[in-house]
Symmetry: C2
């Protein structure tokens, strides 16, 4: 039999786990395509945003992972469209033909059409986003020190996270620790209670996919850490100077992080579905093109009337499942319908504070926090990154320090109205 060419789009959890399944087989060759040359460990992205980890520590070069697999090659490029009829993918103007295709392109931030979100809020999906958030936070604090205008200072020191899902909760919790332990020591010019941290959630409770008890624990833990948790608070607009809520209130701020939702990465040529999730057969393939599989966040298969959660364990399971179904096809065996093994949920809020729910069992506090640490180190790719992240965490735990507070690119903060140079300039910088 001719060697079959399997093309995998996306080097995230889903794509990599597919590649790993296929790599040992002589009757396939694999091309993995991604716009980045690294696999990003998204669950720790928020720690890059708050200066706890360095960007490359949660990114691992794809080629380093593929070294072991002689039947697999990597192609860095942007996928422009997919041609289901001629079975090829267009990448940066060049065609790549496939016999089987696994689409694991993941999601991008979703603004639900709310005005100003795309222009004025920062998502937390990529390394560039995380570095941008970090630059924004530290630029805002530096600017707050320099300004003589009390109102402007208050807005510069207000940080708003929209979205009470795991990313939003973990980010605002880490921000609270940054404020308590790092900003308090580095900026004698700023009192810790001057910094306002706000979590906005449209639903009635944070982490609303968990039990009400878990949400309550989270709310109280965040409040103890100084976070204002505003639930039932939907955003109606984001401007360069703040956030409008649907009830008409305005919250002045220069830093809005948007974690409120995601949608599938649009790929011309593929069918679309709700929030960009593409409906598939129970084998994870397209009904109209059974050689094309959709896995992970993009997959819109329903089980008991609801879609699967968009989490790393699901993506991994689906990636491997699709790969195994391809191999079964090649051997002339019947494909198997996908079965999800729910491994439970785990969210960290801060030092010694986390919440876990596994198969109806709930645990919180230090135990949950330690489990969270262990799980994340375990699943992180590459021995070097594990050691680096672990040593960073140990360092931070004992010193209460987040060390990576380097501003790569200083952000500028406009004035709401045109401000003259005639304000008392000396006041701000001399004492």
């Amino acid at each position: 039999m001719k060697i079959q060419h399997v093309v995998v789009l996306g080097a995230g959890f889903g794509g990599l786990s597919a590649v790993q399944q296929l790599a040992r087989h002589r009757d396939v060759r694999v091309t993995l395509i991604d716009r980045n040359n690294y696999h990003l460990f998204q669950p720790l992205l928020y720690q890059v945003a708050i200066a706890g980890l360095e960007a490359p520590q949660i990114a691992w070069p794809v080629r380093a992972m593929l070294r072991r697999y002689p039947n697999t090659r990597f192609l860095m490029g942007d996928v422009q469209s997919i041609d289901l009829i001629d079975r090829r993918v267009w990448v940066d103007g060049k065609a790549v033909s496939y016999d089987h295709l696994i689409v694991a392109a993941g999601t991008t931030s979703h603004d639900y059409g709310i005005p100003g979100v795309r222009e004025n809020a920062i998502p937390l999906k990529s390394l560039a986003d995380a570095i941008r958030i970090r630059d924004r936070i530290f630029s805002a604090v530096e600017e707050a020190v320099r300004t003589a205008d009390e109102e402007r200072r208050r807005a510069l020191l207000t940080f708003v996270v929209v979205g009470g899902g795991p990313t939003g909760v973990e980010l605002i919790g880490a921000l609270a620790e940054l404020n308590q332990h790092v900003l308090a020591r580095d900026y004698p010019e700023i009192a810790p209670d001057e910094v306002q941290l706000v979590l906005l959630e449209a639903a009635e409770r944070p982490l609303n996919y968990l039990s009400p008890e878990a949400s309550e624990y989270t709310r109280q833990a965040l409040q103890k850490m100084g976070v204002r948790v505003m639930t039932s608070s939907a955003v109606s607009e984001v401007t360069p100077f703040g956030v409008y809520l649907q009830d008409g209130r305005f919250m002045p701020t220069y830093t809005v992080v948007w974690t409120a939702g995601v949608k599938g990465v649009p790929l011309p040529g593929l069918p679309s579905g709700r929030s960009g999730r593409i409906p598939t057969t129970e084998f994870l393939s397209l009904p109209e093109a059974p050689e094309v599989y959709i896995v992970g966040d993009l997959n819109g298969l329903e089980e008991n009337g609801s879609v699967f959660p968009q989490v790393a364990p699901l993506a991994k399971q689906q990636g491997a499942w699709a790969a195994r179904n391809i191999l079964r096809c090649l051997r002339g065996e019947r494909e198997l319908p996908f079965r999800y093994r729910d491994k439970g949920n785990l969210v960290t809020i801060g030092r010694n504070r986390a919440i876990g729910e596994v198969k109806g069992l709930r645990f919180s506090g230090t135990l949950a926090w330690l489990v969270w640490l262990a799980v994340h180190i375990y699943y992180l790719t590459g021995l070097r990154n594990r050691l680096m992240v672990l040593s960073n965490w140990i360092y931070s735990y004992f010193t209460y320090d987040f060390a990576v507070r380097v501003i790569h690119q200083r952000h500028q903060f406009a004035y709401p109205e045109s401000v003259t140079e005639s304000q008392p300039a000396e006041a701000a910088v001399s004492r």
Copy 2:
């Protein structure tokens, strides 16, 4: 006596060493101003460029260093001009008054007016430069894999470093190791001898401030590592597609790093000198404004008819010296003329290969390399960064791996002439 306000411009080696001298004294308060919020350990910048170290590991937040000094504060901003008459510095549109001023603003890349250098070559002076070089190198290699055009592939795989000073030598040596150990394993599509590494130097020998024997050692070591060392080769133009030499030859390449020269950062309001180095009295102050001191790379004081070398030890010594002269003034004592203590030179070329010259004594090879490692770890700022850099080096030494090969921003490579989409697209990406 009224507390005196000392303003220090620049958080490099010179500025920080001045601040450290002044920090213990009650009769001065100090304002340190820098456009970045970190102190950059420039001697290791080339290791960020070749993916050996992560950017924050050689950058240390200024505020973390100033925590201990209650009389010192930090202001992040761009210095626009200096007003010697009214004794104030303009920073981002705001005035900061001083009683004494220490200018330690350092240097920027110098293109000597050679066409195309500013647009098409990358200097190696800032973190952003280093990350840009890293992105360029890895983007070029990825693009080389994708292209079907042999000539374009050769240009993409040619890396030119202009300038045979310590920065150029250390960078091209590290690039040779990157090629030998990392690219060879990650890119089965590329033969190691396809990658061309070129060091261009206008003078007759590399490291021409050292002895001819040291230059010869360096030349041979680099050649053994596969570097083409071209001396007496001055650049006449850099284009997006390559480098023209003064003898008319053209070298096709998409990556040119410019380490051929520096000039003082221009500061309106200060007198100027050759290459932007400002002549001072032997007390390091301006003849026309004795309360203003110029230290480090910017200082143009001559000793026996020649200016001092632009190196970290000199900057440190001058920063401390200027600070001590200010304190002497305050106590009514006579200022002391600057004396330079030459600590010698040390340049690393690669694994177990380095060259040192201290007070006429020359040593090379493994010993010099170990001394180089020890000195750099010792002088690096912050315990955390020392441990991080050391563990990175140990990791790289045993694995022959440079781990930080993350492309933050993919570079695009234009075609010399407009290229049609009709070229054999499939050829490059299918096999």
